[in-house]
């Protein structure tokens, strides 16, 4: 009897597995063809000297990677990526959190502001890039116009045209684009915090700042960690806005790994080398994500 029950249970389990497979199957298939296979194909191509426009490939082993380690432009772009990661994590998420808290508060007209704050995220990246190119325009742009109205002519720059300001100008635009996304994400996290906890704190005479640091922030930590992971990975593989705004220039000042990879693949016809860059990007993003997630595990075990 007991054996029968176990057999039935096992059968049920098998049936359930098959059943699930039918649902996941199509998505899994698409994921495998368009995501998993290309990842392995990229690693494979990175071992060859290949133009990408002909059938013949020459096997090089790890030579592409050896050359990459000697490539100044690659390290400059890696540096820019790291800068972007830090700028993104430490401005986008705090600003997103501030806006999310603002939206929680009971100010009149908040629904209007919620829509306004979210607008940048709804625009296509290319539209944002072109909009900001006009804002940064040294002669006709709003930014220099504003500085001149305030009597701050000495601060006027050709924002995208100078090596010293180009990266900062582009990063500011990227933050403007993504803050709303983290605002929505963190607002969802805030809504998940039980009202009773906040009420209990208030009854116990906790200050608003105390409530924030001792209740809201710890309970929001999982969402913040998710945001940080998304932001880090997104920054490591960032491409489109920079490509439209500066094409990595002037003089490689805003070059990122992804824009450099694009140039190697489609301008210089070095598909093998580009694949090596792209493999490095994958490995770096993977390590960064793993590091953040394991830090999070340590944190939650420590019972922050």
């Amino acid at each position: 009897m007991a054996g029968d029950a176990a057999r039935i249970r096992r059968q049920n389990k098998l049936g359930k597995g098959l059943f699930l497979l039918f649902f996941i199957g199509p998505a899994l298939l698409i994921y495998a063809v368009y995501n998993i296979y290309p990842i392995f194909a990229t690693f494979y191509y990175s071992l060859f000297d290949w133009t990408g426009i002909q059938a013949e490939k020459t096997f090089l082993g790890l030579e592409n990677y050896a050359n990459l380690m000697k490539d100044r432009v690659f390290f400059r772009s890696l540096g820019n990526n790291v800068l972007l990661v830090f700028a993104s994590v430490f401005t986008q998420i705090p600003l997103g959190l501030a806006l999310a808290l603002l939206l929680q508060s009971k100010i009149k007209g908040m629904r209007f502001f919620r829509t306004v704050y979210f607008l940048p995220f709804l625009m296509s990246t290319v539209a944002i890039a072109i909009l900001w190119m006009f804002i940064y325009n040294p002669t006709f742009g709003v930014l220099n116009g504003l500085l001149s109205d305030l009597g701050l002519q000495s601060l006027q720059r050709s924002w995208l045209g100078e090596k010293s300001t180009a990266m900062g100008a582009v990063i500011a635009t990227i933050c403007w684009q993504f803050v709303p996304f983290y605002m929505i994400l963190l607002r969802a996290g805030l809504t998940g915090i039980p009202e009773e906890l906040l009420e209990a704190a208030r009854i116990d005479g906790c200050t608003p700042w105390g409530t924030f640091t001792r209740i809201t922030l710890p309970l929001l930590m999982p969402t913040i960690i998710t945001s940080a992971t998304l932001s880090t990975i997104g920054s490591l593989k960032y491409f489109d806005l920079i490509f439209v705004m500066t094409e990595g220039g002037p003089d490689s000042a805003t070059e990122l790994m992804a824009t450099y990879m694009y140039k190697q693949a489609f301008r210089f016809f070095s598909m093998g080398y580009a694949s090596a860059i792209s493999s490095c990007m994958f490995i770096l993003a993977f390590i960064a994500a793993a590091a953040i997630l394991s830090l999070d595990r340590v944190r939650s075990r420590g019972g922050y």
């Binding site: 426009i53 002909q54 072109i130 190119m133 090596k163 003089d251 490689s252």
Partner: protein, 443 residues
């Protein structure tokens, strides 16, 4: 009950998969029929669609030029009822990515656009381009244009239109300050000073994409070092890229920057979105060194400006070896045939139609461009002027970035942009170019 439900769900998911697949197929179908111009007269097509020979054409010409190419293809299909041509117009920058992918994926178009030179040579070296030597009549094209599609004495395509680099200037501003188009480089410097003194930016430029600034380097190197300066270095016969003429050209660029010859922040301005032309349209700047496509853009963007606009050539540099009549230019489009085409004979016929005298004549009359085809009548006043520049020229210097191998082309543009930004010295720029030349072109 649960079993019933389970099987029902499985059935549904199978159906969903099938419909997904159908969607994919449908999308592909609608995609191809959208690009095939013959889909409009599908009545006649249905009869013989089984035996039709299919050719694909990829090109990048826009506006009026696009219409003319489409009409030519329609006429070709009427004359060749057994051939069906699917022509696809692709945006310039997208095209530069899309063609390599198609070639690499072994699915290239039968006829494709290029600018000749180093870019086309990459595909020729990869064995992807058909040799058309003797298949088309080389005598009907201008030799300077044909050169850009000739490698190792073999012809790999035919040219249609050309672009020349000239100054486009605001005649009213010049008149107001009593200025004449410059004959010599010193004249140009005087014009720059006069305009600056009157609060008008002398020269507009949008150098984000780097090639507009490169035009200056190419002209200055030619005027200082003479017609052979680039080719001697490129072909590695005695010349080098760190020749004093290239260094001098770099110095002259930085002197111009110091003289405030250019609009503020030019290295961050975008040409495609009109950030340099804006200065001319609003009268804030007086001139711009650009390719002849400028005229087409002005006509569609700001037709009112055309009546104020004049053109002049790049002036001579005193003591330099280059002639004031030498031109910097290029060819676009050059049409080539893929070596993988299934119907080489029909493709050659279509290539001839796409670079025919008839189409070239219409390009001149209706699009106002200079063409690479001989014996064409010019009526458009600007086109007549440009044709005169072309006729006077003893030498046409192709754009460096279309002649050099792609990696060196990028270095040339990067270092020139850095020269303009004053983040590199002329000596250093020349040294980097020569170093790259030695590793890529040999000693």
């Amino acid at each position: 009950m649960s079993a019933m439900k389970k099987w029902a769900s499985i059935l549904v998911s199978v159906l969903l998969i099938c419909s997904l697949a159908a969607c994919g197929g449908g999308a592909a179908n609608s995609g191809s029929s959208q690009h095939s111009p013959s889909s409009s007269d599908s009545g006649s097509q249905d009869v013989s669609s089984g035996e039709k020979k299919k050719l694909t054409v990829w090109y990048i010409d826009t506006g009026k030029r696009k219409e003319l190419i489409e009409e030519t293809i329609q006429e070709f299909m009427k004359a060749h009822p057994d051939v069906e041509v699917a022509a696809e117009q692709i945006a310039n920058d997208t095209y530069k990515t899309k063609l390599p992918v198609a070639m690499g994926g072994n699915n290239p178009p039968d006829i494709f656009h290029s600018w000749g030179g180093g870019w086309l040579k990459e595909f020729v070296d990869a064995g992807q381009v058909m040799d058309v030597t003797g298949k088309i009549d080389a005598d009907s094209y201008l030799p300077a244009a044909l050169n850009l599609a000739t490698f190792d004495g073999k012809l790999y395509g035919a040219p249609l239109a050309m672009s020349l680099t000239l100054f486009f200037y605001n005649k009213e501003i010049f008149e107001q300050y009593g200025l004449e188009p410059p004959k010599t480089y010193d004249d140009l410097l005087n014009i720059i000073d006069t305009l600056n003194a009157n609060g008008i930016a002398p020269i507009s430029m949008a150098n984000k994409t780097k090639w507009p600034g490169a035009l200056w380097l190419i002209y200055l190197a030619n005027r200082v070092g003479g017609a052979d300066i680039f080719n001697a270095a490129f072909e590695r016969r005695g010349g080098t890229f760190d020749d004093p003429a290239f260094i001098k050209a770099g110095e002259m660029i930085q002197e111009l920057v110091d003289r405030n010859a250019f609009v503020t922040g030019f290295n961050g301005l975008d040409y495609d979105t009109g950030q340099s032309r804006q200065f001319l349209y609003t009268g804030k700047a007086a001139m711009e060194l650009q390719t002849s496509g400028y005229l087409t853009v002005v006509r569609s963007e700001m037709p009112e400006f055309e009546s104020k606009m004049g053109i002049f050539g790049f002036p001579a540099v005193e003591g330099g070896l280059g002639k004031a009549t030498d031109l910097v230019g290029g060819v676009s489009p050059v049409f080539s045939i893929s070596s993988q085409t299934k119907y080489p004979d029909e493709a050659v016929e279509l290539l001839k139609a796409l670079t025919s005298k008839e189409l070239a004549q219409r390009y001149v009359d209706e699009a106002g461009v200079v063409v690479a085809v001989k014996d064409v009548q010019y009526n458009d006043p600007f086109a007549i002027q440009m044709k005169e520049f072309l006729e006077q020229a003893e030498f046409l210097q192709p754009f460096y970035d279309q002649t050099l191998p792609p990696e060196m082309a990028e270095l040339h543009k990067d270092t020139t942009q850095a020269l303009f930004g004053k983040s590199i010295t002329p000596e250093e720029a020349a040294r980097q170019m020569e170093e790259a030349a030695q590793s890529m072109l040999g000693n």
